[in-house]
Symmetry: D2
Subunit: 158 residues, 4 copies
């Protein structure tokens, strides 16, 4: 048993997918806040990246496997995701101890690009939202078409 | 219902206390790693801080209540925790996608100080350990004796 | 002499303003990179925030004075900047040891909002660019019109 | 001319070495603070790492060259620094806009280990100090003896 298999001990550690939406709970810790007492603006991008990573994890797509070429042998060299574009709205402040939820929706997957719609909420209030364009690249930064295996795994989200 | 009450939807979101040890699972995301491919050394301190915060949370001690003086009226002004001393051993590298566990033990609580023993593990391998001294201070940084209410809540951990 | 006056010992510590453009050099350290070996995407937002803060600093606008109401007595309570909107293009990867430059241009200042155009470059290559909308708010998050003193200081940048 | 050579435009961008002490100025930005209004404790470790990196930079030792094996051909594979042990004292809070100074002293260099003494000050007040043990490792994490070229460069600091 490796650490990557121990998720059964923490059933919801990667959040949940329901009706093509991925939900990830995020607790606000000291590290996330700044002296204004609210969450530092750039940290919402971290929260969204966690949401994307855990959504992919549930779909059985893992960063370390992409990097190591495991199961993704259509492309040579490192293959990983990079963010190309983000349009971000900062709508309200989150505070220490808040329990937030990151919602991730895949809007489109074609060519070398994924388009996602992500929101960070506290209860029903949307505090942050972003339209995110993600590409997949080789070790030397060259964009590659989304591998078929990856596309087929993403299909259930679109 | 406020966001602070929604933890029932994510039962283990603050980890678990078993036999006077608090366990918090931590996933390693992009943000935690550096170009050496392992987790950046200072981030283990963040993981430990999350462990301390969530252990206190389960004991019903909340940072925002300390700050706002709710239920802790022995002391005037902001009251919060500050780290005074840490002795840290970095024993092995954690990698992207790893599921780590932060173990938090309270070794001592007296005067204005708490002494904690914290470890970050992957499976049975200890990757980081620290002896942490924490104080409680007012808004102007003056250390105060640990409030009795707080001490009585911590008792079950020592 | 306070620490805030010691900038004469490090003449360019807040960058430089030339022809209505603020330039801030940024070194890429371990903490800025991730396991892909490049700078983690959200850190470009930190770099831009440093650029905005240092540009304002040269214009003699200081966060701690805004917070404490020093010299800005048109408004009661805490007054500080919040980011409302960002449109971000991630154009190329920065690497460990790179010396980057953040360029900050003020496009517009009216009502409660500032519009800025920011770029992060390595030599002549633009690695990141963003259109940023910033508002000024009170302690309880209410937007306020940009104080006249602040506007008059910003005029030389527009 | 590459970006790595442009430091002449920002003469003090890597700090200064005087009498075997390296001094690096650090500005406190939004990103460094937390809701207590002071600098988040783990960020002092980042400041110290910047100090170490810039001290080595002035001595002409560069992380990207270590990684790429440039000029350091005694050892195969990636070679980089890892922190093994830190004993940290958090002595006082730094605040937004503060101009801090990181002082780095090399206490010892032998075998596979460097021992450093680092302090973070505001004016004459020491806010943080640490005794840091750093090792040099290959790509697979194996410690190696400090290369002679590296030792000879470090000699002027000890």
């Amino acid at each position: 048993m490796t650490d990557k298999d121990r998720t059964h001990e923490w059933p919801d550690i990667a959040g949940r997918i329901q009706d093509k939406v991925h939900y990830l709970p995020i607790r606000v810790y000291y590290e996330d806040t700044d002296f204004s007492s609210a969450v530092y603006h750039a940290n919402y991008l971290k929260f969204c990246e966690r949401g994307r990573s855990d959504c992919l994890r549930i779909l059985n797509i893992h960063h370390h496997e992409l990097r190591d070429g495991v199961h993704w042998q259509e492309t040579a060299g490192y293959m990983g995701f990079v963010v190309r574009h983000m349009e971000c709205d900062f709508l309200g402040p989150a505070q220490i101890d808040d329990l937030l939820s990151v919602e991730t929706r895949f809007a489109e997957a074609r060519g070398a690009r994924l388009l996602l719609d992500q929101k960070v909420l506290r209860d029903d209030a949307v505090l942050f939202q972003a339209i995110v364009t993600v590409a997949i690249v080789t070790a030397d930064g060259k964009p590659v078409r989304l591998p078929k295996q990856l596309l087929s795994k993403l299909e259930e989200m679109i």
